[in-house]
Amino acid sequence: MIGNFPYLAVALLIGLGIYTLIYKRNLIKIAIGITLIENGVNLFLITLGYRKGAIAPIFTQAPEGLKMVLPTPQALTLTSIVIGVATTALILSVAMIIFKKYGTLDTDEVRRLKE
């Protein structure tokens, strides 16, 4: 069970992210919550590729005779990190525009669109 500690860390990060989304009212904090979930998912992906005692999958002057970790999760995580940066940039820009128009970041005061 203790060997599975990285997975528990993933669960914790994603849970904290969801908590932030539900209970925080500041738009910037919501953006932080999304970033937390994203980091949790990235951690999960990178965890999947680990092999005990293995080295990074790069042949340039690598030490002899060792196994290599799985390379695919690293590629996937790279993709997901860049997508995450794009998402964060856009979400912060939208929050800035909302602040410019309404003068506040509180979700309760921002609600002009009624049910």
Binding site: A56, I58, F59, T60, Q61, A62, E64, L78, V82, A89, L92, S93, M96, F99, K100, G103
Partner: protein, 159 residues
């Protein structure tokens, strides 16, 4: 953002070139060492961010221009997709330059080796294309968001 003190400006002038060179090194050696177009592009863009922070929005306009960035971005993207298109004789994204003996076409020594820059085929070229795209994209984002934040905070002071 306003211009920062002389100390900060001097240090920035000293180091931003090195940051950029390091970023370009990461981009060009992406197929041999850890890193690649995205990572290197982000490092170069961090140099731009440093310039914007140090010299403020007005001051940094001397060296950084959004138009040039968006031109570089388009160039990078078109280069990237063009090399994907060039493989279309076989399939989209086919690595037609690898092991061909031409540009970036040396075959690698199997197993562990010291690394040869002239390998990788389209991988190397796409690394550079993506590197250009990423540094320009981050540059545009940094410039636009810092200019936007300045105007928003000014508005708040006035009202």
């Amino acid at each position: 953002m306003n211009e920062m003190s002389r100390i900060v400006r001097t240090i920035t002038t000293l180091i931003y070139g090195f940051i950029m060179i390091y970023g370009f090194y990461i981009i060009v050696h992406g197929h041999l060492t850890p890193g690649g177009g995205f990572q290197g592009g982000a490092i170069v863009a961090s140099a731009f961010a440093l310039l914007v922070v140090t010299y403020g929005n007005q001051g940094s306009k001397k060296f950084l221009s959004e138009d040039i960035f968006s031109l570089i971005e388009t160039t990078g993207l078109v280069l990237f997709i063009a090399f994907a298109f060039f493989g279309l004789g076989i399939t989209f994204f086919y690595n037609f330059m690898a092991n061909s003996g031409g540009l970036f076409g040396n075959s690698a020594v199997a197993g562990i080796n010291a690394g040869d820059l002239n390998t990788g085929g389209t991988v190397t070229i796409m690394n550079m294309a993506v590197g250009l795209e990423v540094l320009a994209a981050f540059g545009v984002i940094i410039l636009t968001m810092s200019a936007g934040s300045e105007i928003i905070s000014k508005k708040k002071e006035n009202s």
